[in-house]
């Protein structure tokens, strides 16, 4: 599904005759080529998971983190160009601490999402900047409960029950829609996220991958943290079993 810009795609400050900005669409392609990232909102919190494609067997497991904590109660999972993602995370952390200094309370997730989206959008307005080549899934828990947002390279940001970006996003979205999220706890959600990521991982095209997951929920005392080691292992095991059952059919 490639569209040729033919001259209207040389700068992010140029519209095409049919009203598109091609550079932003190309930035979105960078996200589509990255490993799958999903996030779901369960009844008591958020779970995020990343399919971290391993470039080399020499890499240390646990390195190259794709999920970052922005402040105590929010975290971001990044898909696309990793270096661009680092920049956005740094900005988000800065916005969060600034909000806390001025208003004396932790930044509401809605505010944080708006500020991140604003920043991403900013880089689509000037010819001397290029758009960020990353999609972000932002999950947080504030006094209005758990909330999940997704920010695209265009700067669009929406709130979701479940979101997926990257290679397997179509398949992942289909799987997420099957889940009954409003009745699920985060503990159950972790297992489901693992299953989905294992399922959408393309063994043929991609080599090994590492599963990285985080949550922020009542069980984690509304703090954003890596999913505890034993639960993560349990999730991985359940996911592998589910895959084998599927293959056996």
């Amino acid at each position: 599904m490639s569209s040729i810009g033919t001259g209207y795609d040389l700068s992010v400050t140029t519209f095409s005759p049919d009203g598109r900005v091609f550079q932003i669409e190309y930035a979105a392609k960078a996200v589509d080529n990255s490993g799958t990232v999903i996030g779901i909102r369960c009844k008591d919190g958020i779970v995020m998971g990343v399919e971290k494609l391993i470039a080399s067997k020499m890499m240390l497991p646990g390195s190259n983190r794709r999920i970052h904590s922005v402040n105590r109660h929010s975290g971001m999972a990044v898909a696309g160009l990793a270096a661009d993602g680092r920049q956005i995370v740094a900005r988000a952390k800065s916005e969060a601490t600034n909000y806390q200094s001025v208003y004396g309370e932790p930044i509401p997730v809605k505010e944080l999402a708006e500020r991140v989206a604003s920043y991403v959008h900013l880089c689509t307005l000037y010819w001397w900047l290029r758009p960020f080549g990353c999609g972000i899934i932002l999950g947080g828990y504030d006094r209005d409960g758990p909330q999940l947002y997704m920010v695209e390279p265009s700067g669009i940001s929406y709130r979701y029950f479940g979101a997926a970006i990257g290679k397997g996003k179509q398949a992942a979205k289909t799987e997420i829609e099957k889940l009954k999220l409003s009745e699920m706890t985060c503990r159950e959600g972790v297992i489901e996220v693992a299953k989905i990521i294992y399922k959408v991982h393309d063994e043929a095209k991609d080599k090994a991958f590492e599963l990285e997951m985080s949550w922020v929920c009542d069980e984690s005392k509304q703090q954003h943290q890596k999913v505890p080691g034993d639960l993560l292992e349990e999730a991985k095991a359940a996911a592998r079993t589910a895959l084998e059952e599927m293959d056996a059919d």
């Binding site: 001025v102 004396g104 809605k110």
Partner: protein, 235 residues
């Protein structure tokens, strides 16, 4: 009488200001005297200023400083409310006041009491005295008249009062302070804030009860001469 009164002295609110939490909200109270030296520039001023629909502030110290600080914070809170999409919390309002008070402490001379109601914490009172400290309290007193109220509140304050008890306490306290503090006077204004909204009340100075050694107001000695017992100071 000092004919060389300094009418150009800075307007200062001698003031008595009070903020009290009760079971369901807060009651803010203040006197109404603004003085320029010994001259009462405004005997009916309103020292309880609105910041948002649900948060008010009692002002003391320099009238100009406290007005400006309130104006800035009202402006910031307005923007904040729009961005947030819901009413600002009392804590945020108090924090903004504190930031301005603290960061400009060398230039400002104003003590403020922020009080209001929000859906997360209910009724809250925050005291922000001269240096820019922020302290959340079940009740707060401020202004020159407050010196005379510390002992009174130690004895009369209790947790979980009703709305009427709290308001009566505030009116009594301001009235006592007015009796003893030369820089406080005029009328007693109160503002009650709770989940249902905001109510302003007004207690004229001459309707307040008389305390120890206070005399009945007398318009003219001539009135007394015509009364049954023409002995003016014999009470």
């Amino acid at each position: 009488m000092d004919l060389n009164m300094d009418l150009n002295a800075p307007h200062s609110m001698g003031t008595t200001i009070i903020g009290v939490t009760y079971n369901g909200g807060v009651v803010l109270g203040a006197d109404s005297r603004t003085s320029t030296g010994m001259y009462v520039a405004n005997r009916a001023s309103d020292k309880i200023t609105q910041l948002t629909d649900n948060v008010y502030v009692c002002r003391s110290g320099s009238a100009a400083d406290s007005q400006l600080v309130s104006d800035y914070v009202r402006y910031f809170l307005h923007q904040h409310t729009i961005q947030l999409g819901q009413p600002a919390t009392v804590k945020v309002a108090a924090n903004l006041i504190r930031l301005i008070s603290y960061n400009n402490k060398n230039m400002l001379e104003t003590g403020l009491i922020v009080g209001g109601w929000d859906k997360y914490e209910g009724g809250k009172i925050y005291g922000i005295p001269l240096g820019g400290t922020l302290i959340e309290q079940p009740f707060a007193i401020g202004g020159s008249g407050s010196s005379y109220l510390y002992g009174f509140f130690d004895q009369a304050w209790k947790e979980g009062m009703t709305k009427d008890e709290a308001e009566q306490l505030v009116v009594k306290a301001v009235s006592l302070a007015i009796a003893r503090d030369g820089a406080s006077g005029g009328v007693v204004r109160t503002v009650v804030i709770n989940s249902e909204g905001v109510t302003r009340n007004f207690y004229p100075g001459d309707k307040l009860q008389l305390w120890h050694e206070e005399l009945e107001p007398q318009n003219s000695l001539l009135d007394i001469l015509n009364s049954p017992s023409p002995e003016p100071m014999n009470i």
